[in-house]
Amino acid sequence: MDFLNPVINGFAVVLEPMNLLYCLIGVVIGMLIGVLPGLGPAATIAILLPLTYNVEPVTAIIMLAGIFYGAQYGGTITSVLLRLPGEASSVVTVFDGYQMAKQGRAGTALGLASIGSFIGGTASIIGLTFLAPIVASFALDFGPAEYTALALLGILLVATISSGSKTKALIAAALGLLLATVGRDIFTGENRFTFGSLELADGIDFVPIAMGIFGLGEIMYNLEERHRAAKAPSAVANVWPSRGDLKQASGAIGRGSVLGFFLGILPGGGATIASMASYAMEKKRAKQPERFGKGAPEGVAGPETANNAAATSSFIPLLTLGIPANATMALMFGALLIQGVTPGPQLVEQDPGLFWGVVNSMYIGNILLLIMSLPLVGIFVKILRVRAAILAPITALITLLGAYTINNSMFDVTLVVVFGIVGYLMKKFGFEPGPLVLAFVLGSLLESSLRRALLVFGGDPLGFFGRPISATLLIVFVLVAALPGIRSALAKRKATVPARTAATEIKEKV
């Protein structure tokens, strides 16, 4: 029972009144911003980072995590009722969810989504509970060589898996790597790109970049969009789905849990991709795929389960390896660093209270969400009517104030404004900000680990293949890098013959 002891102690941490309170605050804020289109969990966490500064690390992360998975719940509500996805991860829920609402089954859709989210989230927490100690048992085997390989793989996956244009993702990632080189070279003390400024001597801090690109950039971008006035939502009645609905959706919930769990762990994966993949899978598996888009319960249950499972499982690489899997996790990484906690393989052993406290808080958070999400629908719809002209300046002010308080530095505020403009322009020209931020985080890890590893190996690059973990990771890296090339070569060979049939198939899909 030695293994379970810290897990149980983790519950004691969660049940401290202050932690419970912050968990509640987190999930409510999360649901709220999930409802608001535009402002996502990454932006909110970026803006609220400085507020967590004076709170205990566990409490802070419990709240921030609550925001993250709470947002997945909130996004569903507006998708179903108003055909207005609050979150990117709830976009696919619109297809069938809104149709169900039109048929007077809004309650069923929301009920299914809530139950699915709860099951998906819980399944992922259980997975996290058992997987984390296994990874942590390798903790001390993770040296510079392993981190080099891991960071390389992470950057590659981020750039290749992310939604949207791959070229643009690679450009953004390259910019992130470049930004990571600013500051004093930790091996030679040489100043790089500091332009004689002492403020830049330690490099650019992660937090102003995140607050600028995700926070201020998003706020500015949202101002451009004229908000559609929220229509009166469909009436919600009969939230508990019928036995038939449940039976129809149970397969989708099961598959969504597993799919979401694995896509969440993958660097570059996360809730959005998980929800889309689940929708595609359900449609492919269905006996009557034509029901999809016309109010199929599986089309709501699958993606909603998957996005919550992924949101939870994306904590695994962060908490066990110190590698953020997506932009929101990069922010959690920043939040932990502010608190003086370095996430990594040692975390489970060195700070079990924090680790298990955060993990177990997700059970409580998911239960809170399940209880609260439906009664609060009416309030959320009212909030949707607050004009962006009022909301935006307030959030911008909070962001800038917060940026100052972290290091008591006006320079940081300037950085936030500069990166806010960068973030705005990136959004405007269709660049995902995620790869930039992730490459920035992984860039300094990659550089310092690579140079450290080469020092230890006496300059021999073959040393990377002499260690089992780094060798395996590098082989995976090569495979992932080569895969698209191989696939397109195969496709070309095949394409010469059945080109015509393929063309018609695509037409049908559109």
């Binding site: 202050m18 004076n54 709170v55 205990e56 409490t59 903790a139 001390l140 085997d141 993770f142 040296g143 510079p144 004093r184 070279d185 930790i186 091996f187 030679t188 003390g189 040489e190 100043n191 002492l198 403020e199 001597a201 330690d202 608190q339 003086g340 370095t342 040692q346 290091n407 008591n408 530095s409 310092s448 450290r452 020092l455 230890v456 006496g458």
Partner: protein
Amino acid sequence: MMHFPTRRAVLGAASAITLLAMTACGNVSGGSSDSSKYPNGPVNLTVGQAPGGSTDLIARAISEGAAKTLGAPMPVVNKPGANGALASKEVAGKPADGQNLLLINASLITITPLAVTQDEAVNIDDYDVISGLSQDDYVLVASEKSGFKSIKDVTSAGRNVTYGTTGVGTGSQLAQTVLFKQANVKGTDVPFDSGKPALTAVLGNQVELATIQLGEAMPQIQAGKVAPLLVFSEERNSFLPDTPTAKESGYDVPVAQYRAIAAPKGTPQEVKDKLLSAIQDTLKSDAYKEFNKKNMLTPKEISGEEVVTQWKDYAAKYKALVEKYDISLAGNK
């Protein structure tokens, strides 16, 4: 947990307001620069390191005690950047009225200038040092797999030895590079970002040796996971009495981290006296003594003048050592 104003903060704010009101009345007869009215509002104690580190913890322990005697709140302001140079330069530029203090690390004066350009270096003459505080010792530890149990094992190994440091321009780097030169052992210097990752690398057998601060190393030393080979202080450390000093082992490389409280140059004597007595009250308190013990800090509560002479002596000594052995702290340029 400090998210709601604690009672202390409220009391502090209240007393600040009363003090402000009092000084406002006093201004009728005196002047705003009247140092007998010191402190005139909160006294900021700036720290050039992030919250949570040992420098920050020391600042917080001092401010807690000194605020009581001074009768004014003493908020700790963290302004990390460039090893503390950023905060130091900022405080040096503040008015010399005792309202802005600095908790300064000796390495910034004695070692960092060896690794950075002239205009980045901080000069101790820009400050009036109020009081020395404590000494934080560096210990050389060896990994399990290296098999090193004493410094003799290292010197007689007859091969290249990898050692982790806590970064470029730190005492950890200086101490080890000089030691290796004096012992005539070939070594590879592997810089880490701070003490924790360097210790982890020793635990995981990624490097064979590392020099880190005692407070950080102690739990692993006690657990038997790393072997302490020597301490770099001039005398044995009371928390690690069985570990020899570098000096005893025949190496002339006395390195430790010292900390002191300083004010901008030209602070009036009256103000300095008040500050000194407030700090001394704190140093005498049981709570502060307990704090030192818990963090394995050796008290070094010497006068400001002594701090300046000692630090300047160390700076000169390190400069001579580095030149003698032709060491570049800026590494493999």
